[in-house]
Subunit: 301 residues, 2 copies
């Protein structure tokens, strides 16, 4: 690749659409595909091109990026009859930015390697805001030389880009990220309900504790949204549940008991079972509110 | 109190000793008492005075500060035969900086009020480092005018001082703080063990995730200590267990199920049962290591 690589982009959802837009604006030739057409038309209006299926995208691209909900989606797009590998050429690179199981990422990389296709797993953290502002954290697994080739692309999308290790290592880092984020979301829910029901103003409590040992991005950004009655995503609870299920399933495979994360997965499962999977992950407080029969002051959802 | 109040200080432990030292250096007349004599001698060498018991301290002081392990200790020091109330005068102020149950703080404030003694609950966050550097977070419950009288004292000790609400509200805020801190400590333990056993370098994982949505003071400060094999306190696990037991017990009284914090209390109980209660609260990773039969690289405790 002497000149800028031609980029393919498959999966124009909440995360994928703004990411693909940054690549178009950065001057890359970007060919996109998405199951529903509206997002494709938006990208074309911005200067992108369209292909009818993943094979068509891959035929026009040196680097094919996927941003899809889960492992089966990535496997279908990679290995399907009209999939990426149907247009495989040696030296082609598949960068999967979806969050999937580390073991699935390794399996996909191995299968693609046999077809001469290089693979990077490159899941992200930062949510739709990070995607829109190009401030994503990008956690990468794969070969160093392939990482170096793709680094200019990543730098168009994020501010913290790390090669963690070999195939799957990006997904392991993402899993670790979600263990911490889920814990903070549930802790925030438990402490706000505790303050409310024990008789202290949750706003004063948050102001007091957010500068000390409890300091975290979650307490810096989410309570004000909850106090304003805003539980819209952000990052959907159903996606957090998917990520936690990946973590708990992977932990079983590796023989790692995760007592707290297992409970957190159950709490997000309760939220999704209550039909609230489309709310922000901070809305997990709703499960604690339900258990304690109390509502956070001024919640209006 | 026209002139600077005379201060009494009872409980010269890991937290109390440096706090009392700051007050002496700030120019207050400070009379101290402690069960063991060594810490008292240190304070006298710095310019403090000593009294034989809490009553003796109170007789010499306008504001009596206590920093003790738990509710029974505070009640003994307040209500004992040689206790603070034995020297009660109208207008005297008792500031309890210990971490105890919110309900116990309210009981103590009510009993002291009947003796004409004002009370503030003023637990702190920030650990021994915050005590030494006078950067504590101080969460206060009580009357606004009493808070205002004591504010200059608090400003000698901490950088974030908040009147949360009425008696007990400081303790509620501290409980909320510990819900979040315990969650972060356990999450850090689970994610480091997950990374290690799933096959990614825990150092690279921490570097990648600490700048994103998982960002917290815990990830900023504790992993480097764990990687260096340092599990010394800091803040002892036995004290975290005490705080979590206060939270879970109080939550029962108020009818607040706390599914995640209850699990975290069990994990700290396991650490203490294994004889490791004197280690830092970040050492709770040891319970996950034990369950997963793996040790974090380069741990040498």
């Amino acid at each position: 690749m002497i000149s800028a690589p031609r980029i393919g982009f498959i999966g124009l959802g909440l995360m994928g659409k703004p990411i693909a837009g940054h690549l178009v604006r950065a001057g890359y030739r970007v060919t996109v595909h998405n199951r529903s057409r509206a997002a494709v038309d938006e990208l074309i209006a911005q200067g992108g091109r369209a292909a009818d299926n993943p094979k068509g995208v891959a035929a026009e691209s040196d680097v094919v990026i996927t941003m899809l909900p889960d492992s089966p989606d990535v496997e279908a797009v990679a290995f399907g009859e009209q999939g990426i590998l149907a247009a495989a050429r040696p030296g082609m690179i598949h960068v999967d930015m979806s969050t999937i199981a580390p073991a699935a990422a390794r399996r996909i990389a191995e299968a693609e390697s046999r077809a001469g296709v290089e693979n990077l797993d490159a899941p992200v953290s930062g949510g739709d805001v990070g995607a829109k502002n190009a401030t994503l954290t990008i956690m990468v697994g794969g070969k160093p030389d392939v990482f170096q080739k793709c680094l200019p692309i990543f730098e168009t999308l994020g501010k913290k880009i790390t090669l963690i290790g070999d195939h799957g290592a990006g997904q392991i880092a993402k899993a670790c990220n979600q263990i911490m984020v889920a814990a903070q979301m549930v802790a925030m829910g438990e402490l706000l309900v505790f303050a409310q029901k024990a008789g202290a103003d949750p706003r004063e409590v948050v102001e007091a504790i957010k500068a000390g040992a409890a300091q975290c991005w979650t307490l810096d950004t989410k309570p004000q949204r909850l106090f304003a009655g805003n539980r819209a995503p952000g990052f959907k609870s159903s996606m957090m549940l998917k990520d936690l299920n990946i973590i708990v399933d992977s932990a079983k495979v590796y023989g790692i008991p995760l007592p707290m994360t297992a409970v957190n997965a159950q709490l997000f499962a309760a939220l999704v079972a209550a039909g609230q999977g489309d709310l922000d992950n901070s809305a997990v407080i709703g499960v604690i509110e339900e258990l304690a029969r109390v509502k956070l002051s001024e919640t209006r959802d």
